[in-house]
Symmetry: C2
Subunit: 196 residues, 2 copies
DNA sequence: CCTAGAGATTAACCTATGTTAATGATAATG
DNA sequence: CATTATCATTAACATAGGTTAATCTCTAGG
């Protein structure tokens, strides 16, 4: 399997010595995932960090009454994981599901902790990755608090370009925190406006 | 000034050698802040990490139309900062304001970066602090997506015990993402229910 | 003790979004 | 080609929460 995309993502954060990269490479597992498969189930402790090589994933909460809320999407070239489950060994609050057939790479948190002890560069990688996750979360919180459903739809289009054609409106609406019907109304209004 | 509370908070995360702690202590500044004062202004780049010794702070977004949204509160014994502003040197999206007269300690991000280079323990501290912030953000996002205004009010009472008597309903409502009038309605319904 | 001001409550009305259900469009399958 | 399944749209109605404004309560100052 081709490790180059992962190496590129890591080495954008800090310099990784050849020897260190070689070690990590030996610990990476590759998985093929089919559309609909769950990589992480809600309520289950997860211990792996994933890298999306191809495909689209969603991370979603499931309410007791069956309602789902998409918290985020993952596209090619991104790391993803149920971070709080992994670092605290607690059951994941959310599930991760493939919305297309996909290929992912992964390594365990145990390996990451070993890396931290092996070489300083991995501490930098770990810190910067979590910093990026934090900034994403903060952005998301700001969007939910400050913006209307219609504004959030535009922000979604900017943040996940092209994704609106790969996933259904059900999933977009669930990300925006509104019903698919409501999203359809918003889209309807938009296309009217653009006719004027 | 008394550094003990800060030391305790740090050393819960990992062992800090005496020499390292001594160095950090020399870099810490103390500030007295009066009720209403802004520690960080929206649109301004911030470079300090704060520790709340006494008092209550709010972190809030300001919309163009003057609407405010409280994103979080800080009470005694907590670290706080405009993290994305500090690490990326970008203008802070939100402001930090004292809701009571307060005393805080602070050090700069530059000092934190020096610490990272000095000793491995600080990388652990930095990573664990940001991990905690991340988990808080994730919790908040889950609350905003999954719960009704009434449920979020109960979650607020659990998460910030005692705070409901220190701040006005305006600030609580702004945290919940509803109007003060709506919060009053929720509280009204609750006290009716408890009479039955 | 009286008054002014801040905050909380309550009521009346309005709007955005949810829910349900019917209808349309499109693509996959026998 | 006809059929079915899936997704999107639209309409009708219900409800949560927003807005405004009047009223109430409490506290601090004069």
């Amino acid at each position: 399997m081709n490790h180059q995309a992962i190496f590129k993502s890591f080495s954008q954060l800090t310099d990784i010595p050849e020897l260190e990269w070689h070690y990590l490479k030996s610990k990476i597992k590759w998985h093929s995932v089919r559309k609909g498969d769950l990589l992480v189930q809600a309520g289950e402790v997860s211990d792996r960090i994933y890298f999306c090589h191809s495909g689209v994933f969603r991370m979603f909460y499931l309410k007791e009454d069956g309602d789902e809320f998409n918290k985020s999407f993952v596209q090619e070239g991104q790391f993803f994981t149920s971070y709080s489950s992994v670092i605290s060994s607690i059951p994941s609050y959310f599930a991760i599901q493939a919305l297309e057939n996909a290929v992912v790479a992964s390594f365990t948190y145990k390996v990451l902790l070993q890396l931290y002890e092996r070489h300083h560069c991995w501490e930098v990688v770990g810190r910067k990755l979590i910093e990026q996750l934090y900034i994403k979360k903060e952005t998301r919180e700001r969007q939910l608090l400050l913006h209307s459903a219609e504004e959030r739809y535009h922000l979604f289009l900017e943040e996940f370009p092209g994704l609106e054609d790969r996933i259904t409106q059900y999933h977009i609406a669930s990300y925006l925190g509104i019903s698919p019907v409501s999203l359809s109304r918003i889209r309807g209004q938009l296309s009217c406006k653009s006719l004027i």
